[in-house]
Symmetry: C3
Subunit: 352 residues, 3 copies
Amino acid sequence: MTESICLKDLAAWLGREIEGDATVALCGVASLEEAGEGDLAFVRSERFAEAARSSRASAFILPPGLDAGGRPAIRSPDPGLDFARSAERLKPRLALDPGIHPSATVDEGAIVAPTASVGARVAIGPGCRVGAGTQLHANAVLYPGVEVGEDCRIYAGVVLREGSRLGDRVVLHSGVVIGADGFGYVRDEAGRYSAVPQVGYAVLEDDVEVGANSTIDRGTLSETRVRRGAKIDNLVHVGHNCDIGEDVVIAAQAGLSGSTVVGREAILMGQVGSAGHLEVGEGAFVGAKTGLHRDVKAGSRVFGYPQREEWAWQRTTAALSRLPELIKRVRDLERKLGLRVPESDREPDDDE
Amino acid sequence: MTESICLKDLAAWLGREIEGDATVALCGVASLEEAGEGDLAFVRSERFAEAARSSRASAFILPPGLDAGGRPAIRSPDPGLDFARSAERLKPRLALDPGIHPSATVDEGAIVAPTASVGARVAIGPGCRVGAGTQLHANAVLYPGVEVGEDCRIYAGVVLREGSRLGDRVVLHSGVVIGADGFGYVRDEAGRYSAVPQVGYAVLEDDVEVGANSTIDRGTLSETRVRRGAKIDNLVHVGHNCDIGEDVVIAAQAGLSGSTVVGREAILMGQVGSAGHLEVGEGAFVGAKTGLHRDVKAGSRVFGYPQREEWAWQRTTAALSRLPELIKRVRDLERKLGLRVPESDREPDDDE
Amino acid sequence: MTESICLKDLAAWLGREIEGDATVALCGVASLEEAGEGDLAFVRSERFAEAARSSRASAFILPPGLDAGGRPAIRSPDPGLDFARSAERLKPRLALDPGIHPSATVDEGAIVAPTASVGARVAIGPGCRVGAGTQLHANAVLYPGVEVGEDCRIYAGVVLREGSRLGDRVVLHSGVVIGADGFGYVRDEAGRYSAVPQVGYAVLEDDVEVGANSTIDRGTLSETRVRRGAKIDNLVHVGHNCDIGEDVVIAAQAGLSGSTVVGREAILMGQVGSAGHLEVGEGAFVGAKTGLHRDVKAGSRVFGYPQREEWAWQRTTAALSRLPELIKRVRDLERKLGLRVPESDREPDDDE
């Protein structure tokens, strides 16, 4: 299925120098351990030199200084990046033929670019626009008025609620739900909850990627926005009216309550939670499982729940480990001074 | 698409007084910032008075005492509630035409009300009943024996496993799975896990709303029940045999292990987790990320992991911040008394 | 729908002794409370003896020593296990007719066993293989090159990305996504994130079960593997290149970052999170909400965040409850010795 490319041409495409046989034909990428005839592998550092020597790959991408042992190789200052690029070239993604599958349902009021691929049983509502080169995989559902830019990949089973707007090269993995109603209620005179109509929409700018089964709710009155280049992992929740900055990274199972603002290039690790209406500053780093209950300063690093600056969290965590011993030391002091040791200290237990 | 309504009629429908031009025509709702000609906006409090003055909305809902500056306005003791009602009126939800889409698969043994809307490629199994005015959006799947009441909205891609029973006005957002098998296993003689057949079912009473990609498992032998008016956010897990009380609120990514009982009007914040077979009392408040490992008293407020009463959690959390300094104070005391300072205290580190 | 079976025959099939009327006809299973005519119920222990006496079940499975009161009963050393087996026999799972539903899309290059059931609107891509007795429910999507073994149950809406491989008797609940791209990026020269092509695949061995809306990403270069008999609950995230051991149990909403290795028979409770590239040893127990940031020894029990051995975690947690009182005791010591009590201790607050 994949055509082969010779080492020399790949290196030229990458803009890198080669060593060894320039004509070796490459048709795939693999790990050092699994590579075989025709595969390109890469070596991140000297640490993997032994694995490289025993690898059966046909060629390697090597960092400066690592001995190629005469085997065909591309020299790269960033082997990981060049390998990723090579993989994109050598293992092309699943291609769908352009055109609309006969089982798809496309409203006559929708505009679908001729080069877009609309898979089996995709539903496209009135007023939708689908850009050139975009793939909509099986069972994807576009409610009315959804706009999808060019070269997007929308995997099987994705749901885009009415009015959602996607830029170019957006990737949504299976099960993603964009633009569901946010979680907002008012209590009526009888004390019962009544849903606040969520009449806004969700916007995902260019180059945003969202992992499987994540949910990004629509704005209440206006928009929820995920800005250019932000990367969101699986099972993440983004509440209504959030504003996620450019190149932000959000790891799996993190959850942002409504109206959270995340500044550009901030990183939120797995299972982070944020109370609503907070601001996470540009470039901030929020450690795994952190529970945010107030703003995070730009460039700062916070951990824990309640959140603390990294140094404070580490100091506190270390001190906590010493707490049981500290209780004994205080008891010793009290005895030395003839003070009464509290009852609780003689029969240690949880006094909560 | 939306017909307009004049201010006077809207106010009469809400049961409120008006000021200014009673004839202004309204055809939508928007935020103060985004509103334009024909839009209704609302002002929650004096804090937003400046934003109101510069808004281009055609009319406003205002709290008592806030100066309308001569512009058309509805006076309301609860602007948020009345705005929500107005939004429901002015931005009607997506309407599907009644009837069954030709691509849907409806078993001949199913009973679907003539006013129900069955969207593209919906699957309805034998023995199902779908009530009047209910919408089943694209790709929704009703396994055999599912009962859905009246005026429900079941969004695209929802799965209702066999025997699930929904009351009236239930809203299930995309990706919700109701009635999947619970997580129960017995180990056989060889020590391997064997699934306990989950032969119960799930019941969602009237006015329950469940957010995108949440999962509510069926009962093992009888039922999992979510009672009238409970509101559940995105990516929430409700295990088998749980009983969620009336008007309970469960925020995103919370998870309840099997047989958890939650009393009416309790509130569980985001990412809360509950061990199985616990009871959360009526009106209790469980703070974000709390890990429940024992019952929660009615009306109490708990936080943290392990859970503590709010006052204890706050006191403990505050004390923890002072722990590193406390260690120094104890060392000073030991020195003053000529006691030996522990090795660990001279070279601070984590002694775990 | 279910045929009845007499008590004697059921007992013989289970290999157990009976008491009372051997000819009573059973046609279902139920809880003690809900059981009626024709139902089998079970009694776990003496604790439920009263509930058994008032139950209207036609027969019971009883542990040794518990008085049957003359009613029809099967004696079992493990009533739970035998009840589960009986339920499997008496309440057969939803059966689909073998064959391919006319609305399904099966690529001509796919091989589907004649005894497999392919439901409405299932999509099966080129190069797929589906084994004997396997059920693919409505809207399931098999991307190209997916292999599914025998007697699997793939519920409605499951997505299997290209190259995924499933063993026999695998059960995937609705909304599960297998083989989505992992979360891996490199930064290019301009500092923008570029996705690392995820060209591996996911393997689920025999008897694996995965709960609703869980996601298991494909390997980056080779495989993500879930080994024989592992049981995974709802909304769980398994990152790329993970290796989940045989008979491992992972409870709801746990998340494993990339390349986590979990040894056989380990148990991870709900909402556990793991940093990447960690190893959880065989038979280890990881308590609910634990945040793993380093390896877990085989057979050990860890809790908390940062993780601690169970004894250390319990000791620390108990000590923490006593911390506020400890601060007072230190102040008393300081006063007794005429030392200056820190400012912060006179007006208690959070000094963070």
